[in-house]
């Protein structure tokens, strides 16, 4: 005797569901009760009856069939205090702890006298330098100079790179003609060429801006190309069907659609711009955090070098956080529909 088998067939279509089945379990979603479930034994219908008519018969029997089981209610929304708890950045609570550990570890290492003071200076000495340079205002000047160089370079690079990236992504002939030369440009090591840039543009602001721009344009251009190429062709067609102009397609489709990639590129570029400014200042400068590093090294004052490096890190971090915040506010729609 053959083993009896039970076949469960998931089906969305009423017609095909009853075409082959002996019993149908209907699952419905209702506004208040999450799920309503009922089992309907199919009325004996002659197999030759058209499926549509069978479907009507079934539909009428569903309404008269009693509800077999009711599932539980929808999950209750979280209480307010738990939603607030979720919003807190718990990682930040660790920050003072980690900071304290690092500081103490560093202090212990310095106090062990295993390394000379000019190799591992005591954190208190670095703190003293910070206070001195804060008091005479030179710290703010150095930070401001580096920040200005980095941001100017980033700004100019972003303008050129997004324009270039856009035409390369949209016009095949530009991609074909320009791309090899642009890659050649990127292949020049910025650090190696920076002395030349100083010779050409002088040791003031201009040369640092050029170096910062040279180091940031490539990630911005690649981000633009990827972003524009990723614009959905279906949405393009929808815009065209709505008689949108080229400018409208750019403004309302391409820019918002490429925004995630553009902001990703900006995240990379913004920290690189600080690197570019510092590199320029290493070669030749009279102010700026990179200059401060070289100055400290020149007079064998390691605490000043450490201070300058820490300040460069802080500048990078702050700039990165600003872009990350911009991302959170511009791309808030990406959180939609996710638990």
């Amino acid at each position: 005797m053959p083993k009896p088998t039970v076949t469960v067939w998931m089906e969305e279509g009423v017609h095909s569901a009853i075409f082959a089945q002996q019993a149908v379990v209907g699952v419905f979603k209702l506004p208040l009760i999450t799920y309503l479930c009922c089992v309907i034994g199919l009325p004996p219908v002659h197999p030759n009856v058209h499926s549509t008519q069978k479907g009507r018969l079934l539909m009428s029997s569903i309404t008269s069939t009693q509800v077999v089981s009711l599932s539980t209610q929808a999950p209750r929304p979280l209480p307010v205090w738990r939603r607030w708890l979720r919003k807190i950045e718990w990682r930040l609570l660790l920050l003072p702890l980690i900071g304290l550990l690092l500081w103490q570890g560093w202090a212990l290492l310095a106090e062990s006298n295993y390394y000379a003071d000019f190799i591992v200076p005591h954190p208190d000495t670095v703190w003293a330098r910070l206070e001195e340079r804060w008091a005479d205002g030179s710290l703010v000047t150095h930070v401001a100079v580096t920040l200005r160089e980095a941001l100017s370079g980033l700004f100019i690079a972003s303008l050129i790179a997004t324009a270039l990236g856009y035409i390369i992504a949209r016009v095949k002939i530009f991609d074909y003609l320009l791309t090899p030369y642009l890659i050649f440009l990127q292949a020049i090591p910025v650090i190696a060429i920076s002395p030349l840039i100083i010779i050409w543009f002088g040791s003031g602001l201009a040369s640092k801006v050029v170096i910062a721009a040279m180091i940031t344009w490539f990630p911005m251009m690649i981000a633009t190309i990827v972003g524009i190429r990723n614009v959905s062709p279906n949405l393009r067609e929808m815009m065209r069907a709505n008689a949108a102009s080229r400018w409208q397609i750019f403004r309302h489709l391409e820019v918002p659609s490429a925004m995630p990639e553009l902001l990703g590129g900006l995240k990379i570029a913004v920290t690189l711009s600080v690197v570019g400014a510092a590199v320029g200042e290493f070669v030749s400068a009279r102010e700026g955090l990179g200059y401060l590093v070289m100055y400290g090294r020149g007079i064998s004052d390691t605490p000043t070098v450490v201070l300058a490096v820490l300040m460069l890190t802080v500048v990078s971090l702050v700039l990165y956080s600003l872009v990350a915040m911009l991302e959170t506010s511009l791309l808030s729609w990406r959180k939609a529909g996710k638990p």
Partner: protein, 255 residues
Amino acid sequence: MIQTQTAILHADHIHHTFTAANGQPIPALEDVSLALAPGTFTALIGPSGCGKSTLLRILAGLVKPTSGQVQFGGLALDRPQRRISLIFQKDNLMPWRTVYENIELPLQLAGVAKTEKEQRVAHLLSITDLLGFENHYPAELSGGMAQRVAIARGLINEPDVLLMDEPFGALDALTREQMGQELLRIWATTQATVLMVTHSISEAVFLADRVLVMSPRPGHIIREVPIPFTRPRGIELLTDTTFTQLAAQIRAAIH
């Protein structure tokens, strides 16, 4: 056949040929002529890959046919018009725009004033049963709701012609039946001329005033079936004998 003089959209001996990646020409449409009378609902049905979507894109002015001409309101159609609206199989909503902003898009592109935009979006939100969802993003909607948003967007310009490319193709069968009825209800409140491409025979018979049947590629219209049912049409029509006969007639024409 409808007199071409009274037609709002009229395709005259359309031929269209694609070029495949290997350079081979692929004839997609062969001598297609059709005329849509104002305010009528026409369904276009045919096997997969018979060129239905291409024909719709040609009628929307998105694709230029290899030969033949499309006339809209008596003038040659050479590019997309705001008076012609195209609704796609995929909802094609912008994920970064809310429901409200998505519906508003065609008005924004046409430069309509703010107060009028608000009124019209509010009206469409109510007839497509989307009130309360205007600030939701597409990712938060079900397939049926997203398609209703797409339909609302397609109707917001109060188009003369509504071209629909399997608008319910991505939906499950139950939602599909419901959406068909809703479409009829919404359509009754507009004066739009509708041409709808569909794969579903019963959907075509249920919704349309006439059904055009296309042959496999290269597509041409092989059959025209007028649907005599009066409106409004209810779901009970699906079990009507005439309905079943018409469906069988169309099924036979396709195969």
